[in-house]
Point group: C2
Chain length 166, copies 2
DNA sequence: TATCGTATGTTATAGCATAACAGTCAAGAA
DNA sequence: TTCTTGACTGTTATGCTATAACATACGATA
């Protein structure tokens, strides 16, 4: 009854009901946080909303602007602390290539996702990529390296931008 | 007659004759640059030497300090321009996770290598990781994404540090 | 109510990166 | 030779990213 997994994990590159992104994921985030005894406070919740609304990767200072506009503190640590919390809880991800953050699109799953970054429209899609993790694990065990964190960031062109961009 | 590929690609985690790293790789770099009509000028060559000598990832400002000590310009663009050149030529890599740069250990090969970063000793090993690239290509083609660049950075513990570190 | 831990707010500063312009120099054209 | 051009290097100035350190607020609990 469900779509193929690949399509679900790359919802960002497909048309979809945007309001569901925010609403459902916010509710899921609250549930997850409660279950873990982590506190999804107003600032933290608002930062997650901001990321969900943006629907792309945002720099910490972009988040901060929006926070400040809502009456929260307007100094960098306010944004960074909330973002760090969300990343620790797996509710958001940091994209190293972009020095930016985005909401996680499937926070309930354990993951080290693969990010596909379109250089034309700047949309970032998150995919589960179990094959990639397995391949890394394989290479790592070959050299006796113990993997703790894994960053996989792919840049290129998303389907929609291939006809438009160079 | 040669060692297994895995061992060669992770020379950084094994004892080895350090002077060869610099000498051989500098010569290779010169050859490659000549063949491409790219100019390995004194500053650029010195930056590559600095990276080879450090044998770890260096921040641009660390490179700059050493350059300045040798009488080259001591403003950031001097270091960044040389580093950018080396990265473009495949003679060095940028490690996004660390905001740092390191010499490429096998510049003659085409690659989007996998980096293994030890959180304890900060050594960075570069591995070819063809399986990882294949897995990413597979995931990408499943969603119609055209891959242009690929960043794979793994952090954890290298063999030597597993007994020492937590 | 006193204390403690967690979270937020604020100040100040550190670290990373680049735009814009000026000067140098070698190679080829006039 | 002289001029022009293009690539490289040097310098100034600035902007973006991130965190240390300290102050304040507030709820939970002893």
């Amino acid at each position: 009854m469900s779509k193929p997994a690949a399509a679900e994990t790359t919802i960002a590159f497909s048309p979809h009901d945007h309001s569901h992104c925010s609403g459902d994921l916010l509710a899921t985030a609250q549930t997850l946080a409660d279950a873990r005894g982590a506190r999804l406070t107003p600032v933290r919740r608002r930062v997650l909303e901001i990321l969900l609304e943006a629907h792309r990767a945002l720099g910490a200072y972009e988040v901060l602007e929006r926070l400040a506009a809502d009456g929260y503190g307007n100094q960098p640590p306010v944004a960074y602390r909330a973002l760090d919390f969300l990343v620790e809880q797996g509710l958001a991800h940091r994209i190293d290539r972009l020095n930016a953050f985005m909401a996680c699109t499937h926070p309930a799953d354990a993951h080290n996702p693969v990010f596909f970054i379109c250089r034309h429209c700047h949309t970032v899609a998150e995919a589960a990529g179990p094959l990639v993790r397995a391949a890394v694990a394989d290479t790592a065990s070959g050299i006796g390296f113990v993997v703790e964190r894994l960053t996989v960031e792919v840049s290129g062109l998303c389907p929609a931008c291939q006809t438009v961009a160079a």
